[in-house]
Structure formats: C-alpha cells, structure tokens
C-alpha cells in the first residue's frame, strides 16, 4: 500500500505523542480502504473532537472534522444525502461513548451504512487526561485523583443490543487481527462498530504505572481475551478484561436501501 494514496503525507508527522496508538489505528483504516479498493474520492471520513478525531486531517479522503460527540449524526446526514458514499466515522471513547453515546446507539438502531471506528484509549487524551466512560475502574485520571469508581461501558455489547450489523473489538497490540476486523467492518452493508483499543502513554500510561508505550501494549496483550474463550468464563473472571473478536455479524437491511425503496414505492415505481 502506498502511503501517498491514502495519506496527506505533507501533513505528517501527525501531532500525536510518541508511542500514541492512534497512528496504528489510522493506518489500519487506510489499509481497510485499500483492501476494499474504494475510490478515495467516494470516501468520506467524519470525525468529532479528540486526539483520535484529528486522524481526519491526515487521511486523503473527503474529511470532516466536526464538533465533539456528534460525528455520527453528521455522518448520518452525509450518507442519507448520498448513499453512494462510503462513510467512515472516526471517534474516541470520549467523543463516541460519553457525549456521543446517543448518536451511536441510534445509528445502530437505524442500521445506517456507516462504519464507525472508535479509538479507545480509555481516557480523554485531547483535554489532558480526564477519565472517560471507558476508563477501567480504579484508574487514576485528572478527574479521578482517588481512582475511578465508575464502571466502564462494554460498547460492543451495547451496539450489538442496539442493532448494529457488525460489531468487533481489536487492539493495537494485535494489529493484524485489527486489520482483518477493519476489512470485515468496511465490507459490511449496514452499520458497523469497530472498537480499537489504543494507548495514550501521555495521560493514561504515566498515571497508571504503565510507563512506556511498550508497557501499555503489553498490558493490552495480557488483558485481552478472545471472545470465543470468554464465553466459557464467568463475569468475575472477565472483570477488567478486554474481550476481543467479532461480537456480531448480521445482514439486516441497511437504512438508505430501505429509504430508497420507500421513495420508489411512493413515486409508484418511477424514479
């Protein structure tokens, strides 16, 4: 894969910190598009606000860096206005799970053809390290100076319950698997949710005894459990673990397809 084809190389190096996992996830997205052979001119990347959402600036597609928490709602407008576009949403655990949680579940419900990639670094990176709804219990963050007491979401379970056609979770540590989920997510008609566990050495690692990017990657490795194995474990054993793998693959009819049928029927066949 040629970097130039999918990246605005003149904007690199990206602004992310040394060892930040976001660069790896961004590459996985580019590879996904490459594998599917999408025309970059027909690809629209919509992101919110956060370190992760800055990815939009480096990818050489149509890129829309919106406001915090709402990229899925913007993307819904883009996709519905022109269903021929490939619409990818890049979001973070703050952007997509905190302020943006509602748009996420509603897009799942509608099953609109948007591919959401959530960069889950379990922290608010951009604003310097507050806890997020996906920060593990007990973690230190600037707004949980005594350790986080809020249980994190399992967004894969949630998006599955909400109706997404495809749901998976990978990690930056297991990059090749992440790449394969990316390809599957992108090739799915209908809504897909792919969560990529990323690392924020600067604001998560430093405060939580994971001093180097490498330690963070190893934490990912040691705490990941494949969903197939996870099935045999009880909730207690799974606490604090990262369940990886494909959570659901369905083929419910995509929203804009249904919409086009509605229009066709209203127009009485003519179009």
């Amino acid at each position: 894969m040629e970097l130039e084809k999918y990246f605005r190389v003149e904007k690199l190096p990206h602004i992310w910190c040394p060892g930040c996992g976001h660069g790896s996830v961004m590459m996985s997205i580019a590879k996904g598009v490459d594998k599917l052979g999408w025309d970059p001119k027909k690809v629209v990347v919509v992101s919110g606000i956060g370190c992760s959402s800055r990815a939009a600036g480096y990818l050489n597609f149509n890129t829309l860096h919106t406001v915090h928490g709402r990229p899925i709602a913007f993307a819904t407008g883009v996709k519905l206005a022109n269903p021929e576009l490939h619409v990818i949403v890049i979001t973070g655990d703050g952007d997509g799970a905190a302020i943006g949680g509602n748009h996420l579940i509603h897009a799942c419900r509608r099953n609109i053809g948007i591919n959401v990639v959530l960069f889950n670094n379990q922290i608010y990176g951009m604003t310097s390290g507050q806890y997020s709804p996906m920060t593990p219990e007990g973690s230190m963050a600037t707004t949980s100076p005594f350790g986080n007491i809020e249980p994190p979401f399992d967004l894969c379970e949630l998006t599955k319950s909400a109706g997404a056609n495809f749901v998976a979770r990978g990690t930056v540590y297991h990059l090749p698997k992440l790449d394969s989920y990316m390809e599957k997510a992108f090739s799915k008609k209908g809504f897909s949710y792919l969560e990529a566990i990323s690392q924020c050495p600067t604001y998560y690692g430093r405060r939580n005894k994971l001093k180097t990017p490498l330690e963070m990657l190893e934490w990912q490795k040691e705490n990941s459990i494949d969903i197939k194995k996870a099935k045999d474990l009880d909730p207690e054993e799974l606490k604090g673990k990262i369940i990886t793998g494909i959570f659901t693959e369905r083929d419910e009819e995509e929203y804009t397809v249904r919409y086009d049928k509605l229009i066709a029927s209203v127009q009485g066949g003519k179009k």
Partner: protein, 69 residues
C-alpha cells in the same frame, strides 16, 4: 536462505517511542542521543517488517535485499 533487509528511518517523523526497537526480533534498533531511532546493527536485519508494522508514525521502511553472498 533467510531474507535480509535494509532499514530506512524517516527521521523527521520518528518520535523516539521505541516501539519498533522492542518489537524487533533481532534487537538491532536503538535510540540515538537526539531521541531518534537508528539501526545499530544493520547487518542482522531479517526484513521481517515488524518495525514497519509497529511504528505508529510510519517512520520506517524496510527494503528486502537480494541475498547475494
């Protein structure tokens, strides 16, 4: 015959995170004093591409060298 590789590091892009060095099976990469990655032992590169895959900054390229010995 094992592959050999030539490693190119795009210095302005390298942020010195050391991820590549840690994943290199041959442990031939190391940080320079100025915080940039360098190939300490170019001879031993087996072109496994781990460093390329792992670098979050796309700062490494590896060329497979014809093994002419």
């Amino acid at each position: 015959m094992p592959k050999k590789g030539k490693v190119y590091i795009n210095e302005p892009w390298c942020k010195g995170c050391e991820i590549c060095a840690n994943f290199c099976p041959k442990k031939i990469l190391g940080l320079r004093g100025d915080g940039k990655m360098e190939v300490k032992d170019p001879e031993n590169c087996i072109a496994c591409n781990q460093c390329v895959l792992r670098c979050p900054d796309y700062a490494i390229k590896v060329e497979v060298i014809e093994n002419n010995d």
